[in-house]
Symmetry: C2
Subunit: 237 residues, 2 copies
């Protein structure tokens, strides 16, 4: 597609990087469980910033701090953009326009690296937000990981022979469940604690719904619908 | 917008239709609880078909059968198309293209009325499917009403201060929660039994998820993700 000027092919995790390779900026775009290993190889070769785009942060930042390398140039990132599709054929130019990129400095991260991370995402069209790695993980457990699990559970709970009457409501509500199971399995394992808490909060709300539906409680159904609409409308499209 | 050639304004439910009004076709597009009342007024004036676009069918068809009018020209319909937006400003020409319209004849419906209903929706671009009113209600409880409740519960379970990090995943999964609470309250009350059953099936799947997340069961998480993806991918976009 003409997007890459030069490249190394091969498994550098096993073979190591070419001896003379030096970087100003490294952005690690791998499944989350590989990110610390890449940091270990890239940090000694990089003079500006090593960052990543993983969907979890606390575990990665902890593992990077525990590496036997200088990690002051590592600053985690999570651009809140993308879709359920993977592969370069789904690349699009405006992917980051108007999206939020969260940057998650740890205690070790030097200020210049944080600034570089924020500049990087702003140049790409994002607005940026600084959170600690743990604040990030708690937030995305609710806004990203829980919706994924709910979408998967909802899709699974639908009998196959009913799919012929599934319309846009079902399609929208379950869309993210098409995402890569291998990628999501790692995300969910990495962020188990906050996700379990988010699941509990959701299950409590669903329990209110079940009681209202079974009891035919018109007033409570109206209230629950209004709560949902108010929260959803607060986001916009 | 130039879409209406002639019209009656005013509340015909209280005032009645003009004495000389006669119809070939009547399509009732009101909240579900008003549909039987409109059938009562329209059936004696209509020589072809009276249908509706309500999201529930068994209750309506039963109430229409119990009316003191000839109901052989009534055939329920449910075009599986639309969005969370209401009002004429959200009308669009291609709304029905490629969508499924379910028609739900009851024992009383005469074959000519069923055919007219199917022709109507095919002319508008839908493919059609015949279900009994109860089969319809059971199906849409899973594919439409449950997703609405899940979306509302998921939106409500998200803390307001986290909305700034909500991305397309949260937006898609909760989109339908923006629908009209007054309309959805009626739908949910009308279809309580099948919705309660669908909620139970969903809660069972969610319980498996909670156990897998809390136990860090990698194999089970992978299996649940694959189940969800398989079901979702079966629908397409």
């Amino acid at each position: 597609m003409g997007a890459i000027d030069s490249f190394f092919a091969g498994s550098f995790l096993s073979e190591g990087l070419p001896g003379n390779a030096r970087f100003d900026l490294a952005v690690i775009c791998t499944p989350v469980q590989c990110i610390p290993q890449w940091c270990e190889r890239l940090l000694p070769r990089t003079r500006g910033l090593v960052t990543d785009v993983g969907s979890t942060k606390a575990g990665i930042c902890k593992q990077v701090r525990d590496l036997n390398v200088d990690a002051t140039q590592f600053c985690g990132s999570h651009p809140m953009a993308g879709s359920e599709k993977d592969g370069v054929e789904h690349a699009r130019a405006g992917l980051f326009d108007g999206k939020v990129a969260i940057v998650t400095p740890s205690q070790d991260t030097q200020p210049a690296a944080v600034q570089l991370a924020e500049e990087l995402w702003r140049e790409l069209g994002c607005s940026t937000m600084r959170l600690s790695p743990q604040q990030h993980d708690d937030a995305v457990a609710s806004t990203s990981h829980l919706p994924h699990i709910v979408a998967a559970a909802l899709a699974s709970a639908t009998d196959t022979e009913l799919l012929s009457v599934a319309a846009t409501g079902w399609a929208d509500t379950t869309r993210v469940a098409s995402g890569s199971p291998a990628m999501w399995r790692q995300i969910i394992l990495e962020n188990r604690g906050p996700i379990a808490a988010a699941l509990k909060q959701f299950a409590g709300n669903l329990q209110q719904w079940t009681a209202a539906v079974e009891g035919g409680d018109e007033e409570q159904i109206q209230k629950l619908l209004e709560q949902g609409k108010t929260k959803r409308d607060a986001l916009g499209n």
